[in-house]
């Protein structure tokens, strides 16, 4: 047990203090405020009134709220596995001794690096019904006989969001998995080669088990991030058509925008609780992964 003097302790607090103050004022206090607000009727230009669980009772009977939950969950279930699989393939490629490695890595990073609001706009044009690139390619490659109504149909808009998100986020998964791959000792592969196992066997016996902790981290991280999707749906589909692609974040935002802070807060509290549970799992597993390696 180390013994610390009072002045040593005081110095350590002084150095961490600015960080704590920032997080307290601009993250914790707002979250607490949102919690408290969710128990109030709090609409602009109206008397603020404590109503306890009224907002939550209303949520319980709100079919649009269930619609937002349904879209958010479907979006996670479809986009995250796609990102992990594609990211794993990209990472396996980049981990080989490929030419122009630096160029390839920079290419992979670019979709991640630009603002999602801007890539949302770009995909809006790509999915344009009359002259967008998506319909041009679909017809040229024989995928469809006529133009597809991407953003005007529920399924098309959903797929559009998924494609745009996969494009934007696969790079991140690739980078994380690449770091995991490059930490696997080469000797293990050469040993497996000497034993006469082929590429697939080596992937199954060496790569996958050693990559598993990193895969879990990437999976959970992406799930938490996909849960709060906002930018893309706001820009690409505005939550439409007919609310088909309204995520929980966007649904809550609409109430804030309309000046209904009580109900908007209640929606975001639900989202917060789900995200919080997932992040506790994430941290527990992350710790586990660290101890395991």
């Amino acid at each position: 047990m180390e013994y610390h003097t009072f002045s040593e302790l005081r110095e350590s607090y002084a150095f961490i203090l600015p960080l704590m103050i920032f997080i307290l004022i601009f993250v914790l206090l707002p979250v607490l405020g949102t919690f408290i607000n969710s128990f109030f009727r709090d609409i602009s230009f109206m008397q603020r009134k404590f109503i306890l669980f009224e907002n939550y009772k209303q949520l319980f009977n709100d079919s649009d709220f269930y619609g937002a939950i349904r879209f958010t969950i479907l979006f996670i279930l479809v986009s995250v596995p796609l990102e992990i699989i594609l990211g794993l393939i990209f990472a396996l490629i980049l981990n080989e001794a490929v030419p122009f490695r630096g160029f390839l890595r920079a290419c992979v990073l670019l979709p991640w690096a630009i603002p999602s609001a801007i890539s949302g706009r770009l995909w809006e044009l790509i999915f344009n019904y009359n002259y967008g690139l998506a319909n041009f390619l679909c017809i040229k490659l024989g995928i469809s006989t006529g133009p597809i109504n991407w953003l005007g149909s529920s399924l098309g808009a959903f797929l559009g969001i998924v494609i745009a998100d996969v494009w934007k986020t696969t790079p991140f998964v690739t980078i994380i998995l690449l770091a995991g791959l490059s930490s696997i000792p080469i000797e293990l592969y050469s040993q497996a080669k000497v034993d006469g196992s082929n590429f697939l066997q080596r992937f199954h016996k060496v790569t996958m088990p050693l990559l598993k902790p990193v895969l879990i981290v990437a999976l959970l991280f992406r799930t938490i991030d996909a849960l709060r999707i906002f930018d893309l749906v706001y820009v690409l589909t505005h939550g439409g058509p007919g609310g088909a692609t309204t995520s929980l974040s966007l649904y809550s935002y609409r109430y804030f925008l309309a000046g209904d802070f009580g109900y908007g807060s209640a929606i975001s509290v639900v989202l917060f609780v789900i995200a919080f549970i997932l992040s506790v799992v994430y941290i527990k597993l992350g710790r586990f992964a660290e101890l395991g390696t």
Binding site: I23, R105, C107, L109, I114, Y131, G180, F256, S268, Y282
Partner: protein, 276 residues
């Protein structure tokens, strides 16, 4: 031998697909921004090249494109600067000083970074309104710093922890204070980490959308992602050429940073998330 050949062919195909997947939308953006009308694909690929989109985006005062870009650059740079300093102080305390409950603080901060932004923004709007900061740079810089601090702290802790303790012990014997050790020993030795954190903080602040959408009103503080997201035509038809020209200019800073410093970005990202 056959397996090796087969593998290298697969990898070559994979590389080509990877480049096509990542770059096609960018090329499309640039083509549209340089063509006089956005529907060239339907005209059998006949493109009429012109710079008029760039000209109109940059010269039209009413679009405020330059204002948005300037706001974004100032806000992102300021956020990155404060983030590095504050996270640096915190990481020093965690890796070097007698701070109790270090792991607890690290995991608490990690949990904070997973909070959905929407669960902050309603209250932040009211808070910023009450102190009169709506539509100012402060309304974005402060929440951005707080928002990006967790990741910055994790990255810097992983860099600082690798610096041999003998270095600062020597400085301590020479009579340096904590602040001097941090400034003269730790920061210079951990320069690549400091640089990674600055880059990532800048990119995150530059790309942020929800706070900027909610906490700004007009060109006095509105950032470029919001400007481009809300860019609508005056007469119903969306001016795609202008939007793509604006987007192409807007992404230049982050694209250049990414291409030139990809190594630092990758290092920062992996240290920030894998260790978690």
């Amino acid at each position: 031998m056959i397996e090796e050949k087969f593998k290298s062919v697969i990898i070559w195909i994979g590389c080509v697909l990877l480049v096509v997947f990542c770059l096609t939308p960018f090329l499309y953006m640039i083509l549209i921004s340089l063509s006089s009308s956005p529907d060239f694909l339907t005209k059998l690929g006949q493109i009429e090249f012109s710079f008029k989109n760039y000209y109109s985006v940059l010269s039209s005062k009413s679009l405020h494109f330059i204002d948005y870009l300037r706001n974004s650059l100032i806000i992102s740079a300021a956020s990155a600067f404060f983030c590095v300093i504050i996270a640096g102080l915190g990481a020093y305390s965690i890796t070097r000083l007698a701070l109790p409950g270090k792991m607890l603080i690290l995991f608490f901060v990690l949990a904070v970074s997973m909070f959905p932004q929407i669960s902050l923004v309603g209250y932040l709007f009211k808070f910023m309104s009450s102190i009169g900061w709506i539509n100012t740079y402060f309304a974005l810089i402060f929440p951005y710093v707080a928002w990006i601090l967790p990741l910055s702290l994790w990255i810097l802790v992983s860099y600082f922890a690798q610096i041999p303790r003998d270095l600062d012990k020597a400085a301590l014997i020479d009579g340096c204070t904590g602040w001097q050790i941090l400034r003269k020993v730790i920061f210079p030795v951990a320069a690549p980490g400091i640089f990674s954190v600055s880059l990532l903080s800048f990119i995150f602040a530059f790309n942020e959308f929800m706070f900027a959408l909610m906490l700004t009103i007009d060109y006095h503080s509105r950032t470029i992602p919001v400007g481009i997201a809300l860019f609508q035509g005056l007469h119903g038809e969306i001016p795609w050429g202008n939007i793509m020209a604006g987007s192409a200019i807007a992404v230049i800073p982050v694209v250049l940073l990414t291409i030139i410093f990809q190594r630092y970005i990758i290092q920062g990202l992996t240290r920030g998330s894998i260790k978690g």
